[in-house]
């Protein structure tokens, strides 16, 4: 079994910082292969569809504009959603934080007398750690997405927001199912494994009285909720039970039904490389004779309003959870999702997680990026992730630079000294000369540095550094100019 099964912690308040958290993944060739394979499949499909879509950039512009507009008018659109949903027979609740949301959901389920609940995959429910809470309260919680079942039965954590079990290969799935479904006969063929999952869930769909879903979008104009999926378990959960609870981040709202003409075109292509995913469902409130007659929406803040406040960072909330950024990310490709210590991994996780925590946790995540910009290129709602990463780094530094501990951190010290040197050319030249002498101490006979202490040692772990030349460019130029003046 993949070593990643050993305790990845997706709680930003206690997770290891990214550099340390990434180490087990980097040393796991199977994981890196699984992740690269999954990414390559989606990327290739997505790439073909984007080339084919001649108005792709125009769609991105519109998607970004629609989401920005919704966020800038969030209060009134949410109120409109609430009014329409309620008029259609739904109940809308508002939760400030994870604790309130969990409590609200439990109360609704208790009132319905439900001691079992089926779930459609929702990262928001993982964000608020809903499953352990409900289980501790004595309820049985059944995930119904194939990937989520794999994770639930295998006691593992998601590592991607669209394909959460992409770090697990077929023989690993076979092992999980064979054990937990008591099917030692199962082959590792994906077809057979999928059929086993279908059988396992069928009874649950027909009998469990309550379901919990997330929401891809909320439609203010109609009080509608939109769920985008592939397997059909979503349709099962939101059609068959008596009670349906939809947990949705407050940022999910779109102004009008017609805005889906943009969002649906960009979402499927970005998330799974399809023109349209197999099933998309929309429902408003309660329809007599069709589907759950008891419908609740729990709107979740949990730090989102604090992001909304910041003009530069507000764009983070445009996210439609497509996962394209992590598929494009060269860092994610090597580390997978668990290294990010959050249910939101990859580039979006690196900016969303610390902000949801109001910069009190996950401060290593804004640095978990080489700022290559691949994420920004693919984001369907044009979130300038590199720009936000840099801004969050500035926030982290502003927090940290006041602390005495960080004063003597070699990198901080080095950067402060460098700033001083860059402020005066004379100082910089002097530093260059001293640097040459100091570097000379580490320079080997081949003219290269093979090993350095402290921060430098992080470089020389895997790379040599060419020794400092005995003449800087400016020294060469000055000599040349002097020679010319002397007429040589």
């Amino acid at each position: 079994m993949s070593k990643i099964a050993e305790d990845p912690v997706l709680d930003p308040t206690i997770a290891l910082p990214f550099p340390a958290a990434a180490l087990p993944a980097l040393r796991d060739p199977q994981l890196r292969k699984n992740v690269a394979h999954a990414i390559d499949v989606i990327q290739e499909k997505r790439g073909k569809l984007v080339v084919e879509k001649s108005d792709w950039q125009a769609l991105r512009v519109s998607a970004a504009a629609i989401r920005t507009h919704a966020l800038e008018n969030l209060g009134s659109y949410l109120e409109q959603f609430e009014a329409r949903c309620t008029a259609a027979g739904g109940h809308v609740h508002w939760a400030s934080d994870a604790g309130e949301a969990r409590q609200l959901i439990l109360e609704i389920l208790r009132k319905e007398g439900a001691d079992e609940v089926i779930k459609i995959k929702t990262m928001t429910s993982a964000e608020i750690q809903l499953n352990p809470f409900l289980e501790a309260a004595g309820l049985s919680v059944y995930e119904t997405d194939l990937a989520e079942i794999i994770l639930q039965l295998g006691h593992q954590e998601p590592s991607h927001i669209v394909v959460p079990a992409l770090h697990i290969n077929r023989s690993q799935v076979r092992e999980i199912f064979a054990q937990s479904m008591n099917r030692p006969d199962l082959p590792d063929d994906p077809q057979a494994l999928t059929a086993a999952a279908r059988e396992y869930l069928r009874r649950k769909f027909l009998q469990v009285p309550a379901a919990i879903s997330g929401a891809n979008f909320l439609i203010a104009e109609t009080g509608g909720v939109v769920i985008v999926e592939s397997e059909g378990n979503g349709r099962m959960c939101l059609t068959l039970p008596r009670t349906l609870i939809t947990l949705a981040g407050i940022e999910k709202v779109l102004p009008c039904f017609n805005d889906l003409e943009v969002m649906l075109q960009v979402l499927a292509r970005s998330a799974t490389g399809e023109r349209m995913n197999p099933y998309t469902s929309l429902w408003s409130g309660v329809t007599p004779g069709d589907g759950p007659q008891n419908f609740h929406v729990v709107l979740l803040d949990n730090g989102r309003s604090s992001i909304l406040e910041k003009a530069k960072e507000r764009q983070t909330l445009r996210c439609i959870r497509c996962g394209a950024c992590m598929n494009a990310c060269p860092v994610y490709r090597q580390t997978g999702g668990h290294a990010y210590g959050s249910v939101y991994p990859g580039p979006i996780g690196a900016i969303l997680t610390p902000q949801l925590m109001q910069m009190r946790h996950a401060q290593s995540l804004p640095y978990a990026s080489s700022l290559c910009g691949a994420c920004y290129d693919v984001c369907p709602v044009k979130i300038n992730i590199p720009e936000i990463l840099i801004d969050l780094r500035a926030q982290v530094v502003d927090q940290e630079r006041r602390s005495l501990g960080k004063f003597f951190d070699p990198l901080y010290l080095g950067l402060r000294i460098a700033a001083l040197l860059f402020s005066r050319a004379r100082l910089f030249h002097l530093a260059q000369k001293f640097g040459r002498i100091a570097a000379g101490l580490f320079t080997k006979r081949d003219g290269w540095i093979h090993s350095m202490p402290s921060v430098g040692g992080k470089w020389t772990q895997t790379r040599d550094l060419r020794g400092l030349p005995n003449q800087t460019f400016r020294e060469w130029w000055q000599t040349r100019e002097a020679d010319r003046r002397r007429g040589r």
Binding site: H37, A38, V41, D55, A58, S62, I66, H69, E72, L74, G75, S76, E79, W94, A95, S96, E100, L104, D145, L146, A147, V163, L166, N169, P190, L193, T194, A197, R198, F205, L206, T222, S230, E231, R235, M236, T239, I250, C256, N258, E261, V262, Q265, R275, M276, P278, Y279, T280, L282, W283, S284, T287, D290, G291, L299, D301, S305, L308, E309, A311
Partner: protein, 218 residues
């Protein structure tokens, strides 16, 4: 104990405070909505025949089985499809034309059937609201001819009748067709599928594993 109302106030207050500094022209910031950029393609330029051909191609890419007919040969086409399925028991939405319930098969008309009863049928036949050629999408608005949602969910085999006059090329054209905002929609773009295991696309997890379409040239 914090009430739901106070939760609402807290969240809305924070949201309002967070967005208070955004410049607005006019009292209702929502008037900015009409000025949002929409330079994307809002209608296609394929001929009717090409559009229908594209729809068929896209449906088949997702392994839906597609056949064509004319209005006068529709019942024959339905008969052909049902016979080829090797299935006997079918459920029909209450608004399905009686002519479509071709003889030689067991028909149950949905009148508050239980889930167990629907589980017991072999397939379902419905109409549709619209089909989008570009993505091979069929839109069900769950009118009487389309039936409530469980009818196209539990049975393993679904036959959907689409008139070519219901076919549009692009997704925005579908939205342009919608006159009354729907409260229930299911957009279907092929049979259920998953790619969660090693990205291998497996057809048919939950939801009908077999999607059949008859395109009626009207």
């Amino acid at each position: 104990m914090r009430t739901s109302q106070s939760g609402r106030d807290r969240v809305l207050d924070r949201i309002r405070a967070a967005t208070a500094t955004i410049a607005r022209d006019g009292a209702d910031g929502r008037s900015a909505y009409v000025d949002l950029p929409r330079e994307y393609i809002n209608r296609g330029n394929l001929s009717h025949a090409a559009k229908v051909a594209l729809l068929i191609e896209r449906l088949r890419e997702y392994n839906a089985e597609v056949s064509e007919c004319t209005p006068s040969t529709l019942t024959d086409a339905i008969h052909h499809k049902l016979a080829a399925s090797n299935r006997r028991r079918f459920v029909a939405p209450p608004g399905l034309p009686s002519a479509w319930m071709v003889p030689g098969f067991d028909w149950k008309i949905d009148d508050e059937l239980s889930y167990e009863q629907i589980e017991g049928v072999d397939g379902v036949v419905t109409g549709s609201f619209c089909a989008v050629a570009d993505s091979g999408t069929i839109a069900l608005h769950h009118s009487p001819i389309e039936g409530r949602r469980v009818l196209t969910l539990l049975p393993d085999w679904h036959l959907c009748i689409v008139y070519t006059s219901q076919v549009v090329e692009t997704l925005p054209e579908y939205f342009a067709r919608v006159e009354k905002l729907p409260t229930l929609v299911t957009w279907i773009s092929g049979p259920s599928a998953t790619a969660d295991i090693e990205m291998t696309r497996i057809k048919g997890v939950h939801g009908p594993r077999h999607l059949n379409v008859i395109l009626v040239q009207d």
